[in-house]
């Protein structure tokens, strides 16, 4: 028996637990009792996080497509093919004809190395990862308003606040150990406002549940701010001393009377007034949000409004307050921190800045680095269909299921000259690849993950990887070497972290010997720094907080006669994203075995649909069959569908309408029609 302390591979809450192994096999999980977030508990995914690791479908050997079929190959053969393939595409079509997709499931070290590989070895800034699909709006919106695109406060602040506004986050299902903390706070008297038109569990405990129309967040938040200003509830001192551009904000919300906001959101004017009073009346109020805010064609505007609401009421820079984007994946914060982004190096240092470029070039021992920002992932598909992109290297992502407009994604991936996928299972995307590289999973390697409260924690190896599968970082370094680059030889991830620290002021004091037992919160600029639980204490990272008023825009696609329903997508409690791990975990898959769609009883009655009926759902982009779940979780006119399932894939329907600034797709709103399958 052996117990290995590590970080949960699922959500950004970052619970730590011990993997229990016996004779080289995982046999269970035990929560860490002392961990500041999980505190001896876990959610159902954490309790089952060992269950997929030894699954017989794990990839154990590299695969190379020969005669149209993926066939086993040696590492030498596969990696040489990767390198020559990428180089050939670059020779023919230029450096920027290749793109690297990094992974929010990979460690910080691996994300850093893949971005180094893209930039230093292959000379392109075409590197991105799935943060593009979840919190790119946050990174853009909060960088502009506060100067730092991360959770301002810590999870423990939930215990100290008076009012919590949860907007666009199904916290008990998607960040369960944060959701449970909210439930506890409410039991102890904290006021809860839930703004989400699904009747999520938190709504059952809310003082106010605002079921505003999908995509009307800007109207709602502007309306709330209007009331706060009109009723004199503004924190004048905070606004005067800590912020700028207030006049423009006040002018922008002046027209958003509760009545006007009510008309746009479908709420009662009184609900908006009540929310404003409850929130602004609290001594300490906290905002938590997630995909319901970010995944819109106006996601950045949503974030601007959230930031403005917090500044208006002086709820930044103190315990129990703050703007708290809940990051989805266990390392999506880290993926961004490490610069797996087309315009940024690690620590959000701009690619466009010649001084920064120069520093990285010198440290990496290359004459120069590319200056022009690369492609965001969500624009890659179009670039590929236009022939600008010919090769894609995907590490631990499954765009076939996770990207919007699946039909288009498939066509593009199939049309690439070279598709390389590095993963732990033969995912829907890997099945299309020319070369598949088998990777170690979280339980089989060392590294660090950064959770949603910016806590950098160590993940540890508990068991060996299956067959010849190798850790992502080892594979990346091997590719670099084969491409003739000698600057990526490391004994272990610890050395990679030392390099990261030397080039990344935010992580300057992060080192493995400092991370026990439960990590450090960045910014941590030097080795003596204790980490930073609260951002923006005396002043914002950018100096003064900047009000960026937002104009209300409708979603890109609205229901009409042909497609009369709004479809909104998301996840369920038991599954993780495209299900490569959870659908191979017996207990989790048993609980949610099939694709489904939520439909309100009134709509169901009108269409003659009963619970469990098969439904055909169609949008302008595609159609799928799925099972009806008749429920008052959704409001009439709105349907909800999770995107985990390859059969009945929600993303066959969704719309790749992008936010112009963050390039996030509008996963939360598209128009569909639905009918019973006879």
């Amino acid at each position: 028996m052996k117990r290995t302390l590590t970080v949960c591979p699922y959500c950004g809450t970052g619970c730590m637990f011990y993997l229990v192994s016996d004779g080289g096999k995982l046999v269970g999980v035990e929560p860490s009792v002392t961990h500041p977030v999980s505190r001896g508990g876990l959610c159902v995914k954490g309790w089952n996080a060992f269950a997929f690791v030894h699954h017989p479908e794990r990839l154990t050997t590299p695969l190379v497509r020969r005669d149209g079929v993926l066939q086993p190959a040696s590492w030498d053969e596969a990696l040489d093919l990767v390198v020559t393939g990428l180089q050939a595409v670059q020779e023919k079509h230029g450096s920027d004809a290749v793109m690297f997709a990094s992974s929010a499931k990979a460690t910080n070290e691996e994300n850093y190395l893949l971005m180094k590989l893209a930039r230093a070895v292959f000379g392109t800034n075409n590197i991105d990862h799935c943060a593009r699909l979840c919190h790119s709006s946050t990174v853009t919106g909060l960088a502009e308003t506060f100067g730092s695109g991360a959770m301002t406060n810590s999870i423990s602040c939930i215990d100290e606040t008076d009012v919590i506004l949860v907007i666009g986050s199904n916290t008990t299902e998607q960040h369960p150990l944060i959701g449970s903390r909210i439930l506890n706070a409410v039991q102890n008297g904290t006021g809860l406002i839930v703004a989400d038109n699904r009747r999520i569990r938190l709504a059952r405990h809310a003082a106010l549940h605002l079921r505003h129309k999908n995509g009307s967040d800007v109207a709602l938040l502007n309306g709330i701010m209007h009331v706060i200003i009109a009723e004199g509830l503004v924190d004048e001192e905070f606004v005067a001393t800590r912020t700028e551009n207030y006049a423009a904000q006040a002018a922008a919300v002046a027209e958003w009377t509760p009545e006007k906001a009510a008309a746009a959101t479908g709420l009662e004017a009184g609900e908006i007034v009540a929310a404003a009073r409850l929130f602004a009346g609290a001594k300490r109020a906290m905002i938590l949000y997630s995909m319901g805010i970010t995944q819109h064609s106006h996601g950045v505007d949503n974030v601007r409004c959230v930031a403005a609401l917090a500044m208006l009421t002086g709820n930044v820079g103190r315990p129990g307050t703050g703007v708290n984007p809940l990051r989805g994946q266990n390392n999506v914060q880290g993926g961004c921190d490490m610069g797996a982004l087309p315009d940024l190096y690690s620590g959000y240092q701009k690619v466009a800045d010649p001084l920064v470029r120069d520093r990285f070039a010198r440290a990496w021992g290359v004459p120069s680095l590319p200056a022009a920002p690369g492609l965001p992932l969500t624009r890659a598909m179009n670039a590929a269909s236009e022939g600008r992109l010919q090769a894609l290297f995907v590490m631990g992502e499954n765009p076939m299921l996770s990207d919007p407009d699946q039909g288009h994604a498939r066509k593009v991936l199939e049309g690439l000259e070279l598709l390389v996928v590095q993963d732990i299972f033969l995912t829907e995307t890997a099945a299309l690849a020319d070369i598949v590289l088998p990777a170690a999973c979280y339980a089989e390697k060392e590294g660090t993950f950064t959770n949603t409260e910016r806590r950098v924690q160590r993940a540890r190896k508990a068991v060996e990887s299956p067959g010849t599968a190798r850790a992502d970082w080892e594979i990346i370094c091997d590719i670099a070497l084969r491409a003739g680059y000698r600057g990526m030889c490391y004994h272990d991830p610890r050395e990679v972290m030392d390099e990261i620290a030397s080039l990344t002021p935010l992580y300057g004091g992060i080192a493995y010997d400092r991370l026990d037992p439960h990590g450090l919160q960045w910014p941590c600029p030097d080795r003596n720094h204790p980490g930073t639980p609260l951002l923006h204490l005396e002043h914002f990272t950018r100096g003064l907080g900047h009000f960026s008023p937002a104009r209300y825009r409708l979603p890109a696609e609205l229901p009409d006669d042909r497609y009369p329903f709004v479809l909104t997508t998301g996840r369920t409690y038991f599954h993780w994203h495209t299900g490569s791990m959870t659908r191979r975990s017996h207990l989790l898959d048993r609980e949610e075995p099939r694709s489904f769609i939520e439909i309100h009883p009134d709509d169901a009655a009108r269409l003659g649909v009963r619970d469990h009926d098969r439904l055909q759902v169609a949008s302008r982009r595609g159609e799928v069959q799925t099972e009806a779940r008749v429920t008052t979780m959704v409001v009439p006119g709105v349907l909800f569908m999770p995107f985990h399932f390859a059969e009945g894939a929600a993303n066959a329907l969704t719309n790749n309408a992008l936010d112009p600034e963050s390039s996030i797709p509008e996963f939360k709103v598209c128009a569909v029609r639905v009918e019973r399958v006879p």
Partner: protein, 326 residues
């Protein structure tokens, strides 16, 4: 009775490990205490009940039931050495007794008893509770008991196996008995036991309305922790992993808080709501088990209250129930 000085503990464990697969409370690197192997961390006998089912040595989180390789069937491996498990508080021992009886009932659970038979179970009591408080001794129900007298461990064997492993230890200077402590504890009313008894009566008299369970259900995030930490929860799920010629059937801890687990083969779920499942979790232990087994099957080990992220473990629910409807 024998005596073991704290300084002798490591030696004693080392000697034991020659003939036994030893499990004992250890301190893990981040301060978590579990019943683990000696290599997991330094012994941590003080601090009361450890987190995690103490019974997991016999009924692990995940374990193979059989494998079929090219048609050849193989059962689970017997442990190389018999198990020696130290760390059961008297309440934990009551739990063990309960599940021993459960797994032996009807078709005896072979996989459980492969590990349980021949195992030695050692209790833990005395001045080693949380913050040094007294855990009254069990006085039996195990092979031997380690009782902390404040400076040393008194080792009291109750079975031949217990006598055998403690034989090499020295005798205490003065004749001692821990029976007095047990009697003293028995004569004190136990507030929590009383609470459970009253909660059980309320349930059996059907005096807890449905809306109460709806409220509790609303607070349950279905993490399954309560079941996975409870030593008397014995539910498991079964999975088959098939590859080219090999099939591996295994079982893992499961939970009555899950909809899918409660669903019958027909697809019907008699407990299809969170409210009903929350009611069942409590009702089963406080009302159904007393009917079937003649006793409440919660022995107040405290684990579900510690593990529940939303504060609705057994004692918390019982307290709320008695306060509102008692």
């Amino acid at each position: 009775m024998k005596i073991l000085h704290p300084a002798q503990l490591n030696n004693f464990i080392e000697r034991l490990a020659k003939a036994w697969e030893v499990r004992l409370p250890v301190l893990l690197p981040d301060g978590t205490r579990v019943i683990g192997s000696p290599g997991d961390g330094p012994p941590a006998l003080h601090g009361g009940a450890v987190m995690g089912k103490p019974t997991s040595a016999f009924f692990p989180h995940h374990g193979t039931l059989f494998t079929s390789d090219g048609g050849k069937l193989e059962g689970p491996q017997n442990p190389d050495l018999p198990l020696f498990v130290l760390g059961f508080t008297p309440r934990d021992l009551a739990c063990l007794r309960f599940i021993d009886r459960f797994f032996a009932d009807g078709l005896c659970d072979d996989v459980y008893f492969r590990r349980r038979n021949n195992a030695l179970v050692a209790g833990l009591s005395g001045l080693c509770g949380p913050g040094g408080i007294m855990i009254p001794p069990a006085g039996g129900g195990c092979d031997l008991e380690f009782f902390c007298d404040g400076s040393c461990w008194l080792v009291i064997p109750y079975s031949d196996g217990g006598r055998e492993v403690s034989a090499g230890l020295s005798d205490p200077a003065l004749p001692t008995s821990v029976e007095l402590f047990r009697q003293a504890a028995l004569s004190q009313p136990d507030e929590q036991e009383e609470l459970l008894r009253r909660a059980s009566e309320l349930l059996r008299a059907d005096r807890v309305p449905d809306h109460f369970w709806a409220e509790i259900g609303d607070r349950c995030i279905a993490c399954t922790g309560c079941n996975l930490a409870c030593p008397t929860c014995t539910c498991f799920g079964v999975q088959d992993w098939r590859s080219a010629q090999k099939t591996e059937r295994s079982r893992m801890w499961d939970s009555c808080q899950l909809d899918g687990f409660m669903r019958e083969a027909s697809g019907h779920n008699p407990l299809g709501s969170e409210a009903l499942r929350s009611r069942r979790r409590i009702h089963h232990k406080l009302a159904a088990d007393p009917e079937k087994w003649g006793e409440i099957s919660c022995f107040l080990c405290g684990r579900c209250d510690a593990v529940c992220p939303t504060g609705i473990g057994m004692v918390a629910v019982a307290r709320e129930m008695v306060a509102r409807f008692g």
